[in-house]
Symmetry: C2
Subunit: 362 residues, 2 copies
């Protein structure tokens, strides 16, 4: 008797490991008020203008969302300085990654993904039956030569997070331009700038400005971090009209929730909140660097709202001792960085609590 069989590649998809929630730690250790520094969320909360916009839209929750996310995309195209026809909105940038894979990857295709980066690229690619070729890292940076060397006739897409998660490093302008130049025209280059707003380096180049004129380049953005809307799921893809209209064929009609559309639109016009967010991230990183220096811990200088810190052989124990004290970070063993934890910036008092706990544990 034949039985129901899923697509064979479903079993190749690794599980995504989300940051542990406050509720989970409160339950597990009885911690009164856990501090979550595990998911690179915005410690200042959501954009206040976004909350106002949700309040005003609340009673329309029974109406289907605009399938075109028109007002949201208008705001985004102004914010990113690009053409609205070449901009797609998604249920978080996860959905943008998914739609790219579904529109361009067939079973048997191959994608190149750096060995130490955001794990969802590999999940989304494998969910389409593609296989993953890992390119090497070099001193916690994505190695552009390694990517170029990994390109084969089977390569269909390349994922590059700039800045990279979880290392916090970025790729300077000349390396990005050289990569764009080297990628064959039949291979899609996906530049994920989820943390792009946080970059302070002078020689950083956002590929947003290039992605509507290059035929095989797409730039991804999210409002989860810089605009404090992780819970609402708003992400964007920017590319040529041809790429975007191909992705639109796959996009489910009502993919972005009506309140997320309103909130995202308002947040994109909330310049004041973004300014505060970036200043706060800068100050928090400085605070963490200073503490790590004092504790004699090596760390990777970050262009994002989190930092990768070298704890050493006892890192798992330190991570767990932090949990017991109600402080949630990320242990990086599952990404091959056994001796590291990644800590997101928090409010000043949260950063202080993390530093105090870490000092006590070490």
């Amino acid at each position: 008797m034949k039985t129901l069989e899923p697509v064979p590649w479903v079993f190749t998809i690794p599980e995504y490991t989300p940051g542990t929630s406050k509720e989970e730690i409160a339950r597990r250790y009885g911690a009164a008020n856990p501090i979550k520094l595990a998911s690179n969320e915005n410690p200042l909360g959501p954009s206040p203008k976004a909350l106002q916009a949700i309040g005003a839209a609340l009673t329309s929750s029974h109406i289907y969302p605009d399938p075109d996310s028109k007002d949201l995309r208008t705001a985004a195209s102004r914010f990113f300085g690009c053409n609205i026809e070449g901009l797609i909105a998604g249920n978080g940038s996860d959905e943008i990654i998914d739609l790219i894979c579904r529109a361009y990857l067939k079973p048997g295709d191959e994608v190149i993904i750096p060995s130490c980066t955001f794990s969802y690229y590999g999940i989304a690619a494998r969910a389409c039956g593609a296989s993953v070729a890992q390119s090497p890292m070099k001193a916690h940076r994505i190695d552009m030569d390694g990517i170029k060397a990994a390109i084969s006739p089977k390569t269909k897409a390349i994922f590059v997070a700039n800045p990279n998660n979880p290392t916090g490093t970025y790729l300077p302008k000349d390396e990005v331009l050289s990569l764009i130049d080297k990628v064959p025209k039949n291979v899609l280059l996906i530049m994920d700038e989820a943390y792009g707003a946080f970059v302070r380096a002078d020689d950083f180049l956002s590929t947003t400005s290039l992605s509507q004129s290059k035929s095989n380049l797409i730039t991804i953005h999210t409002l989860s971090k810089s605009h404090g809307l992780a819970g609402l799921r708003v992400g964007f893809g920017i590319a040529t009209t041809e790429i975007i209209s191909t992705m639109l064929r796959i996009k489910p009609p009502f993919n972005v929730n009506i309140l997320a559309q309103k909130a995202g639109e308002a947040a994109l016009y909330d310049e004041d909140f973004l300014k505060k967010t970036l200043a706060h991230a800068r100050d928090s990183l400085d605070m963490l660097y200073e503490a790590f220096d004092r504790l004699g811990l090596a760390y990777v200088r970050s262009q994002t709202n989190f930092v990768l810190v070298h704890i050493g052989k006892g890192s798992k124990r330190v991570y767990e001792d932090l949990l017991k004290k109600g402080i949630i970070t990320r242990h990086m063993a599952n990404i091959g960085l056994d001796e590291y934890i990644r800590v997101s910036i928090g409010l000043p008092e949260e950063n202080s609590a993390f530093i105090a706990a870490l000092t006590e544990i070490l």
Copy 2:
């Protein structure tokens, strides 16, 4: 020179036609206050308990949603009387349909879809490279013999909406049980009960109670209609733990927006709102039937919150004349019912306005 090529089946995907929005009609015809009876939304608005829950959760919008939608799924498993392990939550039932297709359909597989039903089944199946075999309708009802006859060795899945959209008809218990019995064990039977809550017929059987014990059956539900949350995107799939855990491998980690999770949970406990919704739908249908009888229009008796009415050869003109008067319905030409429009129930005054306008036009 090679160029970037999407998956070949992307061009087989038909476009989804959403209901025209009030804003669009206001703009096009200068209608002051258009009435939308085009998308089967809940005229009573969202569940008030859902709105309260959103208000309370608003300041958590910067936190990632629970990847497991635990509280929402707990509420849903109580509501539907099923096991939580065999229940998945999605970004609307559209995402549930999508996840089923992605988990079970390979390029070259075939799905059976009745010729006059919800168009998204065919979109989602084709987005996975599957082809669609249409089964015939019989007097506006899904023809079970037609489905059985269409089953071939290539068949991988069968979509049945019960009650059906856009006809409003349902399949009685004996026909459903006979279909379940006849579907080969290696073919997935998807029963979509998006409108199941509205059914009044005594011999209707929800397959929810069977889908966790049958190895190839999945039942779909949504909170868009009965609970007034179309804008928030909350849908469910109920099946065996094996099917659900397979779908979970494909599910993006943060698929259901944090406010949607809270709203959905609260709405599922809002028994009062559901009761009012169902009573209102019943009264509205009676009001519409009476008007159609008076106008000498044939219609299909409905088990949902909308009704299909036969206008005749001038149906397109009537549909457009209604638009000009600010009343938005759906012309059914794109689904092969050239002489019909579908009208969703509205508030009593909206139903009256529709009837008055229709009377004037005819």
